[in-house]
Symmetry: C2
Subunit: 340 residues, 2 copies
């Protein structure tokens, strides 16, 4: 097995402001011989996620920084191609954290690092999206933090993304009115027509806070009871201007501020005036909900009730540009890199 050449993408410099393709370097390395307990996984798809941008900085955040000159870490799905571990056989489909490389050697004796998945009713890449980390992220924020009642209005930003799309559909299942915020008419059309949201506000169509707030008010005539935040900045300010008493904000991401200076919250007094509850979370710290969440998400996907789109880049070398496109909002739905 040691004759395999593994292609890998390393983070070789940290961005000064925006992430750039030349922060990454593609290298080749031999695949080491397996030792007892290890398996060799051929990665079929890489997951690209906004959280990775924060980890590229060498600053305090909720995760350790991505080490320099090491393989970019990230979620993957793939197939076991060699095994020195009785729990995994060649041909098994698995989801794990294989990173930006074609092959991953994994010590599968550690509980939870690799999970076998069933692809009979659920396509393999869905385990990186609707039935994976983004889906559980949506589920946790919506179900555990926003907890919408039937008839309430739930808003989600980055609504056409992997997380946002799932948030809205899970909220619809619970009887809420669901309004997305997305960038551009194509995304907004998809959110309404494909994903079944009640409305979608194209934030790029409005000049500033006042106009965006008015558009949200028109889309949410009864105000906003729950908000799933992926973006921050002026979008958060506009939502807060339309927030109802006792509304809840699940704070999942603030991608608008990832590249540079923090973006202030214009009117924090609204949190008090409206007796709002706001909570930041990272889904990997709530492993206790994963079984329930994956149960519902898997059932909804397998029965066609939870829809999602994927944007698929081809080949390992495309990962840096695809990642930068994700940060700029060029993707529809889940951004993947297809290797096989």
């Amino acid at each position: 097995m040691s004759t395999f050449v593994n292609r890998q993408i390393l983070l070789t410099s940290r961005p000064a402001a925006e992430a750039r393709a030349d922060n990454f370097t593609l290298v080749e390395a031999p695949v080491p011989v397996l030792t007892d307990g290890q398996v060799l996984v051929r990665n079929h798809y890489l997951s690209l996620d906004p959280y990775m941008r924060g980890r590229m900085n060498d600053s305090k955040s909720y995760a350790q920084p991505q080490p320099l000159n090491a393989v970019m870490q990230g979620g993957t799905v793939g197939e076991i191609v060699d095994s020195k571990n009785g729990q995994f056989q060649p041909g098994d489909k698995v989801v794990g954290m294989g990173g930006w490389q074609e092959y991953a050697v994994v010590d599968a004796t550690q509980r939870g690092v690799l999970r076998k998945v069933d692809t009979a009713k659920i396509p393999l890449p869905a385990y990186l999206g609707a039935v994976g980390m983004p889906g559980v992220t949506a589920w946790y924020g919506l179900v555990k933090l926003i907890n919408p009642k039937a008839g309430e209005t739930v808003v989600v930003s980055a609504a056409s993304g992997a997380v946002g799309g799932a948030v809205g559909q899970l909220a619809k299942v619970r009887g809420a009115r669901v309004v997305g915020i997305a960038g551009g008419p194509d995304k907004c059309r998809q959110v309404v027509e494909e994903l079944g949201f009640d409305a979608c506000v194209d934030y790029k169509a409005f000049a500033g806070l006042k106009e965006l707030s008015a558009a949200l008010k028109a889309a949410c005539p009864k105000g906003i009871d729950g908000y799933f935040e992926n973006v921050g900045g002026v979008i958060l300010d506009a939502v807060m201007q339309n927030a109802n008493a006792f509304s809840r904000i699940a704070l999942c991401g603030m991608i608008s501020g990832y590249d540079g200076a923090p973006i202030p919250m214009a009117a924090p007094q609204l949190l008090l005036v409206n007796r709002m509850k706001l909570e930041g979370f990272i889904v990997s710290e709530h492993m206790e909900v994963w079984p329930d969440a994956l149960g519902e998400l898997g059932t909804l996907v397998a029965t066609g009730q939870l829809k999602y789109r994927e944007t698929i880049a081809e080949g390992l070398a495309s990962a840096p540009e695809a990642f930068i496109g994700l940060l700029k909002g060029r993707n529809f739905g889940k951004q993947l890199v297809k290797l096989v």
Copy 2:
């Protein structure tokens, strides 16, 4: 009884920016004859509270605006001097919402508008402070929202105020390290020496966010796990820079922004990075906790374990200036107006 002349203070104009004494007018009015179910209360003390400033504006807030040309509403303690209600006898000491006037006619058939209190072990004005609305406010935010564990660090702003002082002492009872923020060396000394806080940061001694944040860091070497917010603005920003993962903010007031333009939150992304929970509340919406809260507060006051200070203005006519002084932080502890 109709020969009584009642002196009253009305709100006769709304402030353009800072509240001013000439927003109020002192008038005289006859006390009406009681009808069945009513009682006449002679107000002994008026409670002055920061929330009243918000109600002076004619804008959306959590409470209805104070009506113009009507008696300023507010909490009072007093004594029944006449009664056409079998539940109350002359001589009974009561707490209620008597407003800024010497006598209040109260329809005591409405449940909860007047509450008889026992002054054997607890002085009458304490029912407007440590064993009243401010005490329950402190209790709700600390116990229900911050819920500190022994060894955690709890910070409270406006620490020498009626609410802040109770927050810190309730947190000490629960084994927390308690750090106050107050304006000036005298208040800070009182907070530490009289109220038993572990430390107090004088925000007036620091030029800006960076310096204030460094002072808080020195006072909270293990970071901040819980924050009870009465002030907002740069103080909130400085606390957030020192917040630990999974810290909680109970948002009770933002007095720094009451007079004018809202003050932005500089770095809302810290709420995400630190997976913080922030909740705005108004204690009057949580009546279910009042019995438990008043039980603990009454016991602590009666046994001398909960200390408090009062700043007492004399006579009804002093109420406007005393209220303005409260908004400027001139009071120590609970600001009262003594009428009898």
